[in-house]
């Protein structure tokens, strides 16, 4: 995979993320961050796919990365993390699997006899991939939020503990 193609894909991912950001009516100042997060997601996904991992793992990793970065960006862009993470994770949705699954279902309704098994296998395969990737994306995006922060960093038990100690001294 050459670099130019990767950059091209990255830009397309960014544009797709921007489109959804506009649809969800995000504040204007966050658009630039969303563009770069969208780029990041696609580039990471393509790179991991290139190294030979499954699409599920690639999407999950990319979504988790977007989740982590959106938490850092949230502080600078003065908006909650989900404003950044949801639009930028949507370009990772596996549209082609979904489409192949649909086509397969329609073929299955019409087909009889020997061809059935092959089409059935392919259809189930595509459908399961689509569902699992979407679930992986959702979990990946929400995981960092649950791991790293309960309310806000200033409200975590760790922060309060440090503050209390300082007061006692």
């Amino acid at each position: 995979m050459d670099i130019l193609q990767l950059v091209w894909f990255g830009c397309l991912g960014g544009i797709a993320a921007l489109g959804f950001a506009m649809l969800f009516n995000v504040p204007k100042r966050t658009l630039i961050y969303i563009f770069f997060l969208g780029c990041l997601g696609i580039v990471v996904k393509k790179l991991i796919l290139f190294t030979g991992f499954e699409i599920f793992f690639a999407s999950f990793a990319a979504a988790t990365l977007i989740g982590v970065f959106s938490m850092f960006v949230a502080h600078r862009g003065h908006a909650p993390p989900l404003v950044f993470s949801i639009p930028s994770v949507i370009p990772l949705v596996p549209g082609s699997y979904f489409y192949k699954f649909m086509i397969g279902v329609i073929e299955l309704i019409g087909v009889e006899g020997t061809g059935f098994t092959t089409i059935f296998n392919e259809t189930v395969n595509n459908g399961l991939s689509a569902i699992f990737v979407i679930m992986g994306l959702s979990v990946g995006v929400s995981l960092p939020n649950l791991i790293f922060r309960k309310e806000s960093f200033h409200e975590t038990s760790f922060f309060k503990m440090v503050k209390k100690k300082n007061k006692q001294e």
Partner: protein
């Protein structure tokens, strides 16, 4: 600060209004709960909330339980708007800092609820470009990207128009998917084997219920199982409606 039943009542209506705006603009349940807690603790109050997707029940009580207020509120159907979520998040931090009067907060909530959307043509163009981008990512050539752009724009316009006329949400999604697929399906029928499959597959992606699906998993992970499942079903049903539109176009064209 002095407290009376009137204060608690007003605080209760502020909290309910906040929660309603957050819920209908696409915040996850844990975020809503967190924001409500943040505001209530500023005024030395405890809250107990029952969340469902369309109704909220909330009890506010003063810390020494002298006064109490319970009320329910119907929530308007979801229309994702992250500007509102952001504005309320900032408002809640300001409340925590300054503890302003409740009437001031109510005024500010009203202005937040009336914030304008981005201009419509800009949104349509951006979403069209997003459709083209999707098509490119799936491996479609430039011509296919152009087709995806047109189809996505038309689909979005259909959905917006139907939404304005007050149609059911799922019907809007179904017809929007159908219109988008009519465009791409026609091109695919005329020129098979030129990579227009990518355009066909991606022209409906602007309808993907990303916010309900992702929020459903955040809710499930955070322990709001009931709400998480409700959101998941909404997302699933939307996907089903997209599929229905796609299938209808496919059968019409005999692809």
């Amino acid at each position: 600060m002095e407290y009376s039943q009137k204060h608690i009542n007003r605080l209760g209506s502020v909290l309910l209004e906040t929660a309603a705006v957050l819920q209908s603009s696409g915040a996850s349940t844990s975020r809503i709960h967190m924001t409500l807690n943040r505001i209530a603790t500023t005024y030395n109050c405890d809250i107990d909330v029952m969340f469902t997707l369309r109704t909220l029940v909330l009890t506010v009580s003063h810390v020494d339980h002298e006064y109490e207020y319970t009320s329910a509120k119907q929530i308007p159907p979801i229309g994702v708007n992250f500007s509102k979520v952001t504005a309320i998040s900032q408002l809640s931090w300001r409340i925590k800092k300054n503890a302003p009067k409740q009437s001031e907060i109510l005024l500010e909530l009203e202005t937040i609820d009336n914030t304008s959307h981005h201009p419509r043509w800009l949104v349509v163009m951006a979403v069209g470009l997003a459709g083209a981008g999707f098509c490119g990512i799936t491996g479609g050539p430039l011509v296919a990207m152009l087709v995806a752009f047109v189809a996505t724009c038309l689909g979005l316009l259909t959905r917006q128009e139907l939404h304005k006329k007050g149609f059911n949400f799922y019907i809007c999604v179904f017809l929007a998917a159908f219109v988008a697929c009519l465009v791409t399906g026609g091109v695919l029928k005329l020129y098979p084997n030129q990579g227009f499959q990518a355009a066909f597959a991606t022209s409906v992606l602007f309808l993907i219920p990303g916010v309900p699906l992702i929020n459903s998993f955040s809710d499930l992970l955070a322990g709001y199982t009931l709400n998480g499942f409700a959101r998941f079903v909404v997302g699933l049903f939307t996907v089903f409606m997209i599929a229905l539109g796609l299938i209808l176009a496919l059968t019409l064209y005999h692809i």
